[in-house]
Subunit: 223 residues, 2 copies
């Protein structure tokens, strides 16, 4: 069986878990703290990053969430999440990069640093200026998500795709860390409520990072 | 015809130019300074980043170099650069991410900031501590490239692939900016000499960033 090396608030691992949920791919979770740089994990992924999808039986270790997403789309036909014309697929991949790179760098990564790493590992208070900048950047991204959801049925186009999963994965971690304010973003909020209610989302909403409880609204499907 | 929006030292645009060269796809260059955030460019790519591959006639604007690479592999059959089994393709994509993300963040991006942006746009001297760290990080990456080239015919496996192009694109920009010291990296150096001698590489080696000449060895195919 596949083993997914991850930690509960890794947004890229969440994207994969949503994909494997949608496609009914079985896996078990292996807990990692990638920032500790331990040897056994570096052996699996020289880049030292989660997620890694490992099948010890077949001696296959796949690294980088987007490489893994593409692998799963190529090998598991059930519920395709990257379909349509080449241009449509390019649009889905553009949006995945927007969420995995820009949203992550602007919002999720600083929140993980200020609210998770500083609290649990560095024992430092968060920097309130960074948190304010992060909220401002989040509003900019939510504006763009409002616009996407206003102009097409799903984030990436006509059908549910990896773009929805990538976006929801980043938002779910930011929301866990108190970084999402939906005021003025009704379209994005409506889309996220739909995502949250999918069976693939349930395991994420019930999981907690030790020592860092989520805010009360986090796991509620209707808020 | 395709128009590639880029600047001469954008490593992601270079990766695409190598791919289009290998596959004989015609394009013209449109010069951008993405960091200026001008409106017409943000219209094409809301993420405000190069490269963008635009076909005004077909009204198609593709963003994110990896999304564009996948699009070109899907639509242009000539000289495939992402072939083999699903596991082999996952390995190529893992390595592309390693170069586009880790090598770029550790080496190319700080060099572009210290040696290009500070000199041409910010009019500040480079920070010598950052430059030293960058050289140290570059050595770590070159060690890994030595190992890859030692264990397989090409960076990504049995054949020339997008992993070679991604790696060569990052190295070529770092080399232009004086950030590559080949001492102790004979395998990587040998592989890079082979890449440099390919016809697809020639247009890159002759192109210059205005006001920032490359070091003398940069365009020599045998050094
Ligand atoms: N593009 C990579 C990004 C992976 C990534 O950045 N993972 C983070 C955790 S969310 C990590 O492991 N960072 C290592 C560290 O913090 O030292 C992917 O999609 O897999
Ligand atoms: N993952 C993106 C990265 C693109 C990127 O970071 N481009 C840089 C230039 S090398 C950029 O436009 N940065 C915007 C800025 O510097 O403001 C891709 O592969 O296309």
């Amino acid at each position: 069986m596949w083993q997914l090396h991850q930690f509960p608030l890794c947004p890229f691992s969440r994207k994969l878990r949503l994909q494997m949920g949608e496609k009914s791919v079985a896996y078990e979770l292996i807990r990692e703290n990638p920032w500790e740089g331990n040897d056994a994990f570096l052996q699996l992924n020289p880049a030292g990053r989660t997620p890694v999808l490992h099948d010890p039986g077949r001696r296959v270790a796949l690294c980088d969430s987007q490489a893994i997403c593409e692998f799963l789309e190529e090998t598991v036909e059930r519920n395709p999440l990257l379909g349509g014309s080449a241009v449509a697929r390019a649009e889905v991949r553009r949006l995945i990069a927007l969420f995995d790179e820009n949203f992550y760098t602007d919002v999720t990564q600083p929140l993980l640093h200020e609210r998770m790493k500083k609290r649990l590992f560095l024992r430092q208070p968060p920097d309130s200026r960074v948190l304010r900048d992060t909220m401002r950047m989040a509003h900019g991204h939510l504006d763009y998500i409002d616009w996407l959801v206003d102009t097409r049925p799903w984030i990436g186009g006509a059908t549910l795709s990896l773009a929805d999963l990538a976006c929801a994965a980043q938002i779910s971690v930011a929301d866990y860390l108190g970084g999402i304010d939906w005021k003025g973003h009704e379209q994005a909020r409506g889309w996220y409520a739909v995502m949250k209610s999918r069976p693939s989302f349930r395991p994420l909403l019930s999981e907690k990072m030790e020592g860092l409880p989520p805010p009360p609204h986090y796991a509620k499907v209707d808020s």
